[in-house]
Each structure stands twice: as C-alpha cells, then as structure tokens.
C-alpha cells in the first residue's frame, strides 16, 4: 500500500493510495484449491496529508472464508511501517471477491483514497461453462469520487450520511467508453463506492443476464432490464452486443435508488461502442442451468434451528446494530458478540431497517447466505444466488438463511456504507465449536519492517 499520483481528470494530477501503487489494485486470478499468501506492506505516510489521521490498515478479502486473523478484523491493524502476511484458503466455489481496507475508524477514507481491488476465484465448473472467459470476462470496478479544482480529492461525509462523489469511475477512469465486438461479454461488476448504491440499466432497454452473485454462479441465469446494486455487492452480468449494429453506442445507466446524493452526471456509468471486428465464438452462451448444486441455495428454511433479528438503526447520533457499536466490542475486550451460532447450524437472520431516511448494505463476514424473502415477498430475481451482502432498503426487512460451517471464531457484521461502518454500525458474531478452539483475530499481528522471509 503506497501513495501514487494518477490522472483521473484530464490534465490534473490526483494523489491517491493504491495496492502496489495501482488504483484500483491489481486483479488476482486464483484457481480454487490453490492457497495464497499476500504480504501487505503499509508504506503509506505517517499522517494523511489532508485528514491528519494515521492510516493504519486491515486488509479484508471480501467473500473469502479466511481464518479470523486473516479476515481484516477492523482492530487488527497494520500501522505505517508495518507489514502483515494474509493467508487465503481459496477452497470456496468460483466467485468474484474483492480486497479492500477495513481499518478501524477510517475505512471509508482509506477506500476513498483508492485501497480496493478485485480477486477472482475460478473452479472447474466455472471454467467448463460456455460463458464468456478471457478477454470477454471484464472486471468493472465502479466507484464515485469528488475533486477539488486542482484535481485533489474532496472529502465530505455529509454529516456521516456517506461519501458521495459527482464523478463516476469505472476501473479508475471517469465514464469510460469500451469498444465491444458483436458477441456476449461477461462483466464482473463490483460496487466499490464508499456509500453510493446504483440501479443499472441499458439505454437500449434490453435485458441483461445476471449469472453470478457475491458467492458465485447462480443456479440459473436471471434476465432483468434493471437491478439494484448496493455497496460491496458483486454481480456478474452478461450483455449480448450481437443484436447491435457496428457504430452503435450502448450506455450503462444508473437510476439511483433513493437517498443517495446525486449530481448531474451520476445517472450514467459508461458506454459501449459496438465495433465490427472479428471475434471468437467460443464461450459465447448463457446456459439455462449454471450451478444447480449451489450448496447455499439448496439450504431449506426447515433446516434452521434458530431465528435472530438484527435491527440496523440510528441511535443517539450513531449508526448501530441492535444498539451495539464497534466501540462496545472494543470496550468488552472483543468478547461481546451479537450472536453465537454453533458450527454447522443453520439459522435464519432477519435484518431490519426501520428507517425511511437511509438504506444499509449489510455484510456478514465469512459465511454465504441465501435471501429467503424481502418484506415478506420472494427475493428479487437478481438476488437468487448465494450472497454475502444484502441491500437493506428504506423500511425493508430481509430474511437470510445461513449455514455456519467450514470455520469457527469471531467475525464482523456491519453496514457496508463505509461511513456508517466507521460511525459505528459494526458488531461481531462468533461461530462456536465445542470441540475445536477458534483462532483469535489478533493471533497473527502485523510486524515492523524490515520484512521477514515470506
């Protein structure tokens, strides 16, 4: 992690922070079963040049069933001048993950500065399907920024409502245009904005095939004309450009969900210019069945042994979950938990947002879940896949079905509007196992430079 200077606005230089100096960070492509170790060295300045804070970090690989000490536990920090080796198991099914900062108190600022990147996990099933691969499998990391007239980043959390920028970036470029051939493309869309949620659609009015959610391939593709995309969610979408004529421009639009702060051009994301170039016809399909054996989606409501309720509420000027903040967790010596499910148990978690004034993208670490219902009705079509973030809209409640298997220990649950998370809508749960002790989140702390052997 280090400072870097980028040209986002033509002719102006912007100081940002990037993994290996890249904004967004380098994309990982990992085969299932191949364990990885990523050494994160905090080479950031001792003090943020504008916001005056010490930018300690804690890197979270979002979507990974990592051990507690490698999950980016918010208070397991790496100071400037320290490093930490993160071990990732990569045993999970193919999915689009992302890595981003999770350091306590300033996650929003660190991510706004650029500390985010995509991490793609593949498996034999995903590789065997005739869905687009290779050059036709494109990451789209969407974020929003605001700039001063000299090109520097402009920071405002809007009284802790969230960071909302007036410039939409895709893979670090504002409102880019991509040349596309007349075939299917698969876009791995990651909402890496600190606070903004989106509602995608094509200006042609055509459908898109959603083929994967946060935790990988859906059982069957879902064809939608638009869909809502909260912070930190990942959706893999296939768009078929075969029907368009060369020279035609297709615009990916954003009909913003309410309670975002919008600006003149935040209603558009990027454009696709269709070209007549030759292309491969291999992997140019969307099968009617993608992943019928998706384990999380096969869970049954009747399997649940307990139902818990998590209220995402604002109390005394703070964002809380059931009235609990991360400060309460710290005050308890990190012993307080909001839930203690037993390993291999299946539970229903009902998440509620009783407010009409804001929404919360709720993220539960370590596990995947199935969205059982939304406001008492079936899950939305684009949510019919395993997930780890669920959009909790105004006055909405969602019921999630979760199996707490494959690991144990303390993991965070929080709002992924990063400003809400920092102030202080974050708590933790613990997967309990009577026979095998869990690792402590602080059991492998960061070390001071110089680096030891990897």
């Amino acid at each position: 992690m280090e400072p870097t200077t980028v040209e986002v606005i033509p002719g102006l230089r912007t100081e940002m922070w990037g993994y290996n100096g890249l904004v967004p960070g380098p994309t990982f492509q990992i085969a299932q079963g191949r364990r990885t170790v990523v050494r994160q060295i905090n080479n950031l300045p001792a003090v943020h040049p504008v916001l005056q804070y010490t930018p300690w970090t804690s890197v979270h690989l979002h979507g990974s069933a990592s051990l507690p000490e490698y999950d980016g536990y918010a208070s397991d920090i790496t100071n400037p001048g320290q490093y930490k080796d993160y071990h990732y198991p990569n045993w999970q099914p193919a999915r689009t993950l992302w890595y981003h900062d999770h350091g306590v108190h300033h996650t929003a600022e660190n991510v706004f500065m650029g500390l985010a990147g995509q991490y793609q996990l593949t498996d034999p099933l995903e590789r065997s399907l005739p869905i687009p691969h290779g050059e036709y499998d494109v990451p789209l990391i969407v974020s929003d920024k605001m700039f001063n007239s000299d090109g520097s980043l402009l920071f405002s959390t809007n009284d802790n409502a969230g960071f909302y920028g007036d410039v939409i970036l895709v893979n670090g470029r504002p409102w880019p245009v991509m040349k596309v051939k007349r075939r299917k493309y698969r876009f791995r869309i990651l909402n890496a904005s600190p606070s903004r949620s989106y509602n995608w659609s094509l200006d042609s009015g055509d459908t898109m095939a959603v083929i994967a959610t946060d935790a990988g391939l859906m059982p069957t593709p879902q064809y939608v004309r638009s869909f809502r995309h909260g912070v930190a969610e990942r959706y893999e979408v296939v768009i078929d450009f075969a029907k368009y004529r060369p020279g035609q421009r297709i615009v990916l639009r954003n009909a913003s969900p309410k309670n975002n702060i919008n600006f003149t051009n935040t209603n558009k994301i990027m454009a696709f210019d269709v070209v007549a170039d030759a292309f491969s016809t291999v992997d140019n399909a969307v099968p009617a069945s993608l992943n019928p054996g998706q384990a999380t989606m096969l869970l049954k409501e009747s399997d649940a042994v307990k139902t818990r309720t998590l209220n995402f509420i604002r109390e005394h000027g703070q964002w809380t979950i059931n009235g609990t903040t991360w400060e309460d967790i710290v005050r308890s010596g990190f012993t307080k938990v909001i839930a203690g499910p037993k390993i291999d148990d299946v539970e229903i978690w009902e998440l509620r947002n009783p407010s009409g004034g804001w929404h919360h993208p709720a993220h539960i670490h370590f596990i995947d879940f199935r969205v059982l219902s939304r406001n008492g009705r079936p899950a939305l079509p684009h949510e019919l896949g395993a997930k780890d973030v669920v959009f909790l809209g105004e006055n909405e409640s969602v019921r999630l079905l979760i199996k707490f298997d494959q690991g144990r220990g303390k993991y965070m649950v929080h709002c992924h509007n990063l400003v809400h998370e920092d102030h202080d809508m974050m708590t933790q749960f613990e997967i309990r196992d009577d026979t095998t002790p869990a690792d402590d989140p602080f059991s492998d702390p960061a070390r001071w430079l110089p680096e030891g052997p990897l």
Partner: protein
Amino acid sequence: MTDTTSTTWPLATPARRTGRASRTYRALAASAAGVAGVIHALVAPEHFELAWYVGGFFVAVAAGQLALAVALARGAALRTPAVLLAIAANLAIVATYVTSRTTGLPFLPVEEHAGGEHLPVAGGVGNGIPVLPGADIEPVGALDFTCLLAELVLVGVLVAVLPRMVRGTVTSVMLGLGVVAFVARGTGLLA
C-alpha cells in the same frame, strides 16, 4: 458639549432621549443581555465536556452578560467606557460565534469535533480519527441563534444610546470591521 468620558446613561442628549425612551432602552438591553447570559449559562456544562477552557469561556460570558443585565435593570449609572467595553465584548462574542459556524475555531479540540471520543486502538500509532474539512464547523441551532439575536439587539441598543460623536465613531469602526471581514472571506483569507 458632551463629556464623552463621564456621561452616564442616558448618554445621548436630552433632546433625543426622553425619560420613557431611556427606560425602554434599558429594559430592552437588560432583557437582551439576560437572554444571552442565560443561554450561555445553560450550555456551559456541555462545553466543559469538550474542554475546561471552552466551558470556562461560556461561564465567563454568561457571568458578564448577566451582570450587565442586572446593572441595566437596576438603573445603575453606566459610563461611556463601560458601555464601549460592553459593546466590544459582545461584538467579540458575536464574531466568535459567526466564526464557529462558518470557518471553525482552530483552537478547539480537534478529535472531539471529528467524531466523538473513541477508545484507544491497541497497537495503533498516532491518531486514527480523520479530521474532515469543515468538521469543526458547528451547526446553527435554535438556542444559539436566539442568543445571537439577543446579542445583536443588545449591541444595537448600547450603540444607540452612545453620545452622537462616539456613536459615529463606533458605527464607523463596526462598519470597517465588517468590510474587512467580508473582504477577507471573499479573498479566501477567512476560508
């Protein structure tokens, strides 16, 4: 000719200030000073939580304004220098208030304004709390805005009862300070 150093309330010439008008001005000024003093006293405890010197400032302001209110209500003789001092002090309080609601006060504890108290972060080096631009700008509330209005009324009445020559000088100085502040704000010196 008016002796500007020893004339007591009413300070203006008898031709301009009748006895009834004088009593009205006194009552208005006493009420305004009383309202401002009570409001400062009410909010002093919460400002002690911010820092001892901030709370102390509010107590001192409250004491001064309440003392002035009592003096005015009792009909005590106020000489021109005392009135000028009261005008200057209340203008300084108004300026401090306006600064706190526009550019922020640089000498206030930063961490408190940035997001409240936090427990220490184990292993953390330095302060991890971001200080966002404008984080030290306080929002305008009903109580503090009422206090501001009371102080402006108080200053207005005190200026109005000054002898003509002194009043002219004081209003010129006030106007000049206002222009300087306006220009400083416009040119970014008071950003």
